[in-house]
Amino acid sequence: MNTKLFNVSSSPHIRNKLTTGSVMFDVVLALLPATVFGVYRYGLRALLIIVTSILSAVVTEFIFDLIAKKKNTVADGSAVVTGLLLALSLPPTVPLFIPYLGSFFAILFVKCCFGGLGKNFMNPALAGRCFLLISFGGIMTDFAVDGMSGATPLAAMKAGEVINVADTYLGFAPSVIGGSALALIIGGLFLWLSGGITFEIPAACIVAFTAFMALFGGQGFDVPFLLAHLCGGGILMGAFFMATDPVTSPVTSSGQLMFGAVVGILAALFRTNGTAADSVSYAIILGNLLVPFIDKISVPKPTGYRGEDPKGKKTGFPKAALNLCIITLVAGLALSSVFMLTKDAIEEQQMAANAASYQEVCPDAESFSYDDTLTAAVEALGGEVYGEQYGRTYINEIVVGNAADGSVAGYVISATSSDGFEGNITVSVGISPDGTVNGISFTELNETAGMGMLCGEDAFKGQFSGVNTDAFILNKSGSSTADNEIDTVSGASTSSGAVVNAVNTALDFFAANVK
C-alpha cells in the first residue's frame, strides 16, 4: 500500500506566467521608446533626472517597508514605474532635487501611507507631479534648453504663434522628457497589444478630449489645432500610461469607458478655460477620485441576466452606455457652470484690483472716467501686438483721473507684456498731463518667486516714478546713471525687460494720443 502523502490545495493547480512584476516590467518596456528619445534629445541631464527619480521612489518604498516592519514590496516593480513616469513628465531642465522630492512625495504620502500597492486612490506619479507643479511652478514650467525659446507648442499657440505640429509629434519641440508623441504612441500600442492595458480608457479619453476641443476649443474642427493639442501637453502620456494605471482606474469595461471620457473632458475643459500650467494631470487625479463611484455604478450583469430573451437574442439598450452619457453630461455641465460662476467673480475682483491700482499711480484723482476718443484709440489697436520694438505688448485701456476741481489730474494706461518669464505681466502706468510718469503698479504679475516677483517691489518700480521721458532703457549692468535708465532685478532680466517694454508701450500710446 502506498502511504506517501501529496500536497493538497484548491484548484486551479496551474497559473498563468503573468506576475505583478511582469505586468510592471511591461509598462517600463512600453515607456522605453519615450525614455530613449528623451535621453537622446536632452542628453545626460535627462538620464540623471530619470535615474534620480527611480532611485528615490525605490529607496523611499524600501525604507518605509523597513520602518513600518512590512513585507518588502520593492520587487513588484511598481515603484520603478512610478519613478519613471514621474521623471518622464518633468521638464529636462529641472534641478535634481525635483525628481528626488517628487518621487519621495509620490511613494511615501500617496502610496505607502494609504497601504501600498493597490490601495492608493490616486496615481502616485501624477500626485507627485502635481505636488511639484504647485510647489515649484517656475522650475516645473521652464522648458528653455540650449538657448532655444522655452515656450511649449501649446503656450506658443495660445499666444497666437504658428507652430510646427511635426516637431511636437516627433518630440523636438520644447516639452517634458517623455514628450515625443510618436514614442508614446508606439509604447501605448505595444502595451495594448501585449494585453497590459485595455483600449477602453485611452480610446474614450482621446475621443472625448478631441470632441470637447473641437466643440469648445474655439477653433472648430481645425485639424492642425486638434493635432497640436493631441500631440502636446501630455494628453497621450496621460491617456496611455497615467489614466490606465490599474490601481486608480475602474475595473470593468463600462467603468473604464466612463472614466476615460471623464478624464478626456476634464483635460479639455482645463486646457481651454483653465489658468493652470497643466490640464491632463489635474484631470486624471480628479478622475481618480471618481473611481470608487464609477466602480459602483459599472458592475455588469453576468450572462443570463442581461435582459436576454430566454429563448433568443439580446434585447434592451445597454445600461452602461446610458450611464456613460449621463455621467459625462452631468460632469461637463457641472464643471462649466462652476467656471461660469467663478468667471464673473474673478472679473469683479479684477476690476476692484484695477481701481486700487489706478488710484495708487494717480493719487491726485478723485474719480476715474473713460474718454470716448481715447477709448476709441485703444479699440482701434484691435487687441493686436502694439509694436515690434516692444515685443508682445498690448494696450488694455486708458482712463482719465479727475481731480476734485474737475481738472485732469492725470491718465492711467493699463498695458500688458506677454514676454514675462511665466506669461503675462500687466502694469498700470500713471502719467501726469505733462507726460511725467507718476508711478507704476502691477495688476498681473506671476513671475518666479524671489526673482521676477521682485519687480513688484518699490526698489524696482520706484525707478519709474517722476521721470519724464519718451522711453525707458533697461540697464543690465545694474549701474544706471540717467533718469530713464532702469536697473534690472538681479537674475530676472526677462521679467524686468517685459515690464520696461509694457511701460514704454504705454508712453508711446500716450505720446501718440494724448500729448
Binding site: 501529496f6 486551479p12 496551474i14 498563468n16 503573468l18 493597490g118 475595473v251 455588469p300 442581461r306
Partner: protein
C-alpha cells in the same frame, strides 16, 4: 472565420499530445476494488450485498435510494471483503463496498446481450439507464435517469453532446470519440427518441481535428445530428458556456439546462447510455487518462470503475525517472481535486488523474502580491462576473452585495480568474468558501 466560442476564457497549455498518441488499452486490475456509495449527486446508494457474498462482474451491488440517486454495479468478480469507510479523492472518507477481486472478471448472466436500438420503447431506454447506474461522467455525476426525464420532454430542443474537453492533459473524450463514434451517435438517436423535438449537436473543440473528422463521418448520414467545432479555450466545456455557444441562450444560477430546452451530456455518458440500452452493459468501465509531467508513460486506458489510482499510475509507467511527484489530481489541473494519497478508487465521474512534478507545482505557486485591480479576472470570466469586486465583498464579509449585486452565487468555480491573476490571489478558493457560507446560511 474562427469557430464559435464564448466571451472570456483562457488558454492554458494543453499538453494533450503526450497521452493522445498512445493507443487505448484495457487495464485489468489485480488488487481490491472499492466502490464508494456516493459516486453521484444525491442520496448515496444502498448496498444490496453483504460481507462474504460472491459477486460477478455486472452484478448490482448497491441500489438507488430514492429519485436522485444511482445504482452501483460490480466491475469485477470476487468476494465482498468489507463495507466500510474508505478515502475518496477529496480526502474525505465515504462508505464503500470493497471487493476482493479474483482477477477472472466473470460476467453475470445476460450482460452483453445485443438489443435492437430501433425496437426500444422510451421506458425501456430509461430503465436500462437506471439499471446501469449511469451518472454524468464528465465530472458532475448527476444521475442520468433524472436528467433524461424532465417535466416536459417535448420542450427539449437541443441535445448537446459535450466533447469539448477543455481541461489540459485529459484526452479520454477525444480518444473515445475516435473509437466509439457510432455508439455516441447511437445514444444521441436514443435521446432524440425521448425528446422528439430536439436536434443533436456534438460540440468538439477545434484542437481535436481527428475526433471532429470521425464524428462528422458518422453524423453525415444522420438526420438532425451535426458536429459543431468550437474554439479551443478553457472553460469551453462548462455547461453554461457550452449552452451559450450552441444556442445563444444563457443559463442562470439554479436553472437547469432543461428550462432552456437543452440537455447536455458528456460523450462518455452517451457511450455508456448506448451500451446500457443496446448491449445490456451496465456502467463498469470508462476511458480514463493518466497523465501529467511527472508520469513516465502518459496514456488513456479503458479502466474498471473501482480500480485503485495507485495501480493505474503503475500501469502508466509510474513516476518519471528523476522526477518528484508533488501533487496528484483527480481530474485536470484547472478543476481537478488534489488527492492526499493514491489509495483512492476511480469513480464513475472521474475522467483522469494528473500527476504534477515538484517543478511544475512550484512554478504555479508564485508568491501572492496585493491586488492591483487590473481587471483581468473580469475579462476572462466566462459568465461576465467581476471576481475583483466579488473578492473585495467576500473579504469584507459583505455577503449581501456578493450575492445580490455581484451575482457571486453564479460562479461555476472554473478557476479562470485565479489562473490569470498576476497577483496570484486564491480567488476561486475564496469564492467556493463564500458560496458555501451563503448557502449554509440560507438552509438555516
Amino acid at each position: 472565420m474562427s469557430n464559435k466560442t464564448f466571451r472570456g476564457g483562457v488558454h492554458p497549455e494543453g499538453h494533450k499530445e503526450i497521452s493522445k498518441t498512445q493507443p487505448v488499452e484495457v487495464f485489468l486490475p489485480k488488487g481490491d476494488m472499492v466502490y464508494p456509495l456516493n459516486q453521484h449527486i444525491g442520496k448515496p446508494a444502498k448496498p444490496v450485498v453483504k460481507k462474504g457474498d460472491k459477486v460477478l462482474a455486472g452484478q448490482l451491488i448497491a441500489e438507488a435510494d430514492g429519485f436522485v440517486s444511482a445504482n452501483i454495479v460490480s466491475s469485477c468478480s470476487g468476494t465482498v471483503k468489507a463495507i466500510e469507510e474508505r478515502y475518496v479523492a477529496s480526502g474525505a472518507k465515504a462508505m464503500s463496498i470493497v471487493i476482493d477481486n479474483d482477477g477472472e472478471f466473470t460476467l453475470a448472466p445476460g450482460i452483453g446481450e445485443e438489443r435492437d436500438p430501433e425496437g426500444l420503447s422510451n421506458e425501456e431506454i430509461l430503465d436500462a439507464i437506471q439499471m446501469a447506474g449511469i451518472v454524468g461522467m464528465g465530472g458532475a455525476g448527476f444521475p442520468a435517469r433524472v436528467k433524461l426525464a424532465p417535466k416536459d420532454p417535448d420542450s427539449i430542443e437541443y441535445i448537446i453532446a459535450n466533447g469539448s474537453e477543455c481541461e489540459p492533459y485529459i484526452t479520454c473524450d477525444d480518444q473515445l470519440m475516435q473509437k466509439e463514434a457510432h455508439a455516441i451517435v447511437g445514444a444521441i438517436k436514443l435521446l432524440m427518441q425521448l425528446f422528439p423535438n430536439a436536434v443533436g449537436v456534438v460540440a468538439i473543440e477545434d484542437n481535436k481535428p481527428d475526433a471532429i473528422a470521425t464524428m462528422q463521418g458518422v453524423c453525415n448520414n444522420e438526420k438532425g445530428i451535426s458536429v459543431l467545432p468550437v474554439k479551443a479555450k478553457y472553460p469551453e466545456g462548462g455547461e453554461r458556456s457550452l449552452i451559450g455557444v450552441v444556442t445563444g441562450r444563457q443559463l442562470r444560477f439554479g436553472q437547469l439546462p432543461a428550462e432552456l430546452g437543452c440537455v447536455v451530456c458528456n460523450v462518455s455518458t452517451l457511450n455508456a447510455i448506448y451500451r446500457a440500452a443496446c448491449k445490456n452493459e451496465p456502467l463498469m468501465e470508462r476511458l480514463f487518462t493518466v497523465s501529467g509531467d511527472a508520469v513516465a508513460n502518459p496514456r488513456t486506458m479503458s479502466v474498471k470503475i473501482g480500480t485503485s489510482c495507485a495501480e493505474l499510475l503503475e500501469a502508466a509507467g509510474g513516476i518519471k525517472a528523476g522526477c518528484e511527484a508533488a501533487k496528484v489530481l483527480s481530474g485536470g489541473p484547472m478543476m481537478g481535486i488534489a488527492m492526499p494519497s493514491l489509495d483512492v478508487p476511480v469513480c464513475k465521474n472521474n475522467n483522469a488523474m494528473t500527476v504534477m512534478s515538484k517543478d511544475e507545482v512550484e512554478l504555479a505557486e508564485k508568491k501572492m502580491t496585493a491586488c492591483i485591480r487590473c481587471g483581468r479576472c473580469g475579462h476572462v470570466c466566462p459568465l461576465g462576473l467581476v471576481p475583483q469586486m466579488m473578492a473585495e465583498a467576500a473579504e469584507r464579509g459583505d455577503y449581501e452585495r456578493y450575492e445580490k449585486k455581484l451575482y457571486g452565487l453564479d460562479c461555476i468555480a472554473c478557476g479562470t480568474c485565479t489562473y490569470i491573476c498576476p497577483a496570484k490571489r486564491p480567488l476561486m478558493q475564496l469564492f467556493k468558501q463564500t458560496k458555501a457560507a451563503i448557502m449554509a446560511a440560507k438552509r438555516r
